[in-house]
């Protein structure tokens, strides 16, 4: 029953995306629930495997698959993206709901890696940074999480408060690359 007082949640990049520029498409991505998983001493890897069927990711790697991923997210930390965390995990790791804390976008297209090469101080070429590889690094001046999800697609997470800057930096790089084609 909609009325003047009904509040509707908006996504971090609401009104900003999608954008198609040159060979690339930038879209907002709904990953589902986002939970940081910071293991205590032992047992977290087994609990994650039992509860969600995926290994605890090694540094710079992801496990799982689309819809239910574990993304390495820093020292002794993974981001569970997709399912709500199983209660059994809480025995073995500190769990923090970060669902509304991140702006999540996907950059795809032939020039996706070339666009990111303008912004990111890590070699994201396919030879070095394969599908399922991830990095905590910078995008422009933003701290970001970047994961290759396909031959020419990347999942990019930045702080929600920086969503407009994230989109602006990516769109500017997409435009300047397209202008030189």
């Amino acid at each position: 029953m909609a009325d003047a007082l009904t509040l509707t949640a908006t996504t971090p990049c609401y009104g900003l995306l999608p954008k198609t520029i040159g060979t690339c498409v930038l879209t907002e991505t709904d990953l589902g629930a986002l939970t940081s998983v910071a293991p205590y001493k032992q047992g977290a890897a087994g609990a994650l495997k039992d509860a969600h069927g995926m290994d605890f990711p090694a540094p710079n790697r992801t496990t799982g698959k689309q819809g239910a991923r574990a993304i390495w997210f820093g020292r002794d930390m993974a981001l569970l993206a997709g399912p709500a965390p199983d209660a059994a995990l809480a025995e073995h790791a500190a769990l923090t709901d970060q669902t509304d804390a991140w702006a999540c976008v996907t950059l795809s297209g032939d020039d996706a890696a070339a666009v990111l090469a303008r912004l990111v101080p890590v070699d994201l070429s396919l030879a070095k940074f394969k599908r399922g590889h991830t990095a905590r690094t910078q995008l422009g001046h933003l701290n970001a999480s970047i994961t290759r999800t396909g031959v020419d697609s990347f999942l990019i997470l930045a702080f929600r408060s920086m969503a407009a800057t994230l989109v602006h930096d990516l769109v500017t790089a997409m435009e300047s690359l397209a202008a030189r084609r």
Binding site: N60, R75, P121, R136, T137, N143
Partner: protein, 87 residues
């Protein structure tokens, strides 16, 4: 300039925050005498050459590192986790 993070691999200098010489790793005991604390707080060798420094990989994994850097040539000869260096 690249720093070899033991967790992330070689990374660009701009991902790191520089804290300075790694004196914090040799903090005196709480009951140490005044001379030991004066030495810790105020006195530095400041000799040119290899220096152990604290860097935070704050745009990467977040770990504090002890990086050995030559202050004359800027050559970086190694890095380890600060948590392991103190053990």
């Amino acid at each position: 300039m690249r720093l070899p993070c033991p967790i992330c691999g070689d990374r660009d200098r701009r991902e790191f925050y520089y804290q300075g010489a790694a004196v914090a790793l040799s903090r005196p005991a709480p009951d140490a005498d005044a001379a030991a604390w004066e030495d810790y707080v105020h006195l530095r060798e400041n000799q040119p050459g290899d220096l152990d420094e604290l860097w935070s990989h704050d745009a990467g994994c977040g770990a504090w590192l002890v990086v050995t850097r030559n202050t004359v040539t800027h050559a970086v000869s190694g890095a380890k986790l600060a948590s392991e260096a103190t053990r």
